[in-house]
Symmetry: C2
Amino acid sequence: MLVSGGLDSTVTLAICAAGGYEPYALSFDYGQRHQVELEAARRVADSLGARAHRVAEIDLRVFGGSALTADIDVPQHRTDAEIRHNIPITYVPARNTIFLSFALAWAEVLGARDIFIGVNAIDYSGYPDCRPEFLRAFEQLARVATKAGVEGAGMTIHAPLLQLSKAEIIRRGHELGVDFSLTHSCYTPTADGAACGVCDSCQLRLQGFREAGLTDPIHYAAA
Amino acid sequence: MLVSGGLDSTVTLAICAAGGYEPYALSFDYGQRHQVELEAARRVADSLGARAHRVAEIDLRVFGGSALTADIDVPQHRTDAEIRHNIPITYVPARNTIFLSFALAWAEVLGARDIFIGVNAIDYSGYPDCRPEFLRAFEQLARVATKAGVEGAGMTIHAPLLQLSKAEIIRRGHELGVDFSLTHSCYTPTADGAACGVCDSCQLRLQGFREAGLTDPIHYAAA
């Protein structure tokens, strides 16, 4: 189970645990601008009963190419249409391919047959590696890439949020008792870890809570 | 182009360059037991005119599971049949999936449409992620995982050694003027970097040179 500490992966972890799986949580230290995200991932994994939480260090900065890992300004105050219909500047090349590859490696060591990832419909209009056809292609790859595949066992990529809106994700998490105060979504948090309230990620999150009729419990520097 | 500094990736790089491509060489620092391999990769990339050489740091030890990255003894003096017909203990889970994912990330940043990997027929009887069906599945994934894929451009995974024996690989490299003294294949080199001559990798290499009717120029501690 890929766990970023964000809202989506947290709800996915809750769904995974509620479905009777024994979750093993995997996060990445990939040269993010801040460690707030990894602290959130640890809190979330603990609170939702993950059997183990590992952080794999990888350096995506070696290739450049994204606002989330290089010195490019993260856009703020973009319109909803801008957010939804363009590949965002925060796109990290092949990120989910890399993340799922590591998940596949750990799954093989664990003897696991199920990988969970929290991608959803809002993401996949903008990020190529969040689309349903990407997930199907990775699942096919996973079945031929591993010992389990050679031996005929399957490997399933679960993306339970894929067709949900942000508001639906928040409602689902609320039903499952997720403590949203543990999660972190902001691309550009303040020095004390507060969410900025104005980056794409904060805007989508706040709008989701409004549409779900719920209050976001985290602290915002501005909103 | 994935470059390990071994014999196969070196010949693949020579084939790539001879084919008119402009190679960008990618190596991995993944908790190998020795840095000899990375030094060989740098020498090889330099000698064959790579436009750039990057080393991506990743920690596959976080999951355990292989003799090449964990504290398990590397087997020696195995028979040819043992080497060819079992998934070897030196198998690193999902390694080529992870390596190709990083190559895909860099290819996307570079605008490249071709990824070269030096897997071959001897490997793919033992390693699931060296088989032709794995490479086809990764190519399919690459076409849906990236901006280039979304925009309709293709991505091709080239594995020019796939159907070649070790002797044929060595002959091909010899024809292309490869300096085999720059390459490194041994799993368990001595402290001064000499090849052991007895691990699986040394045995396959030595046998390949014998069958090719050529002399391996590297120094062996024992043979």
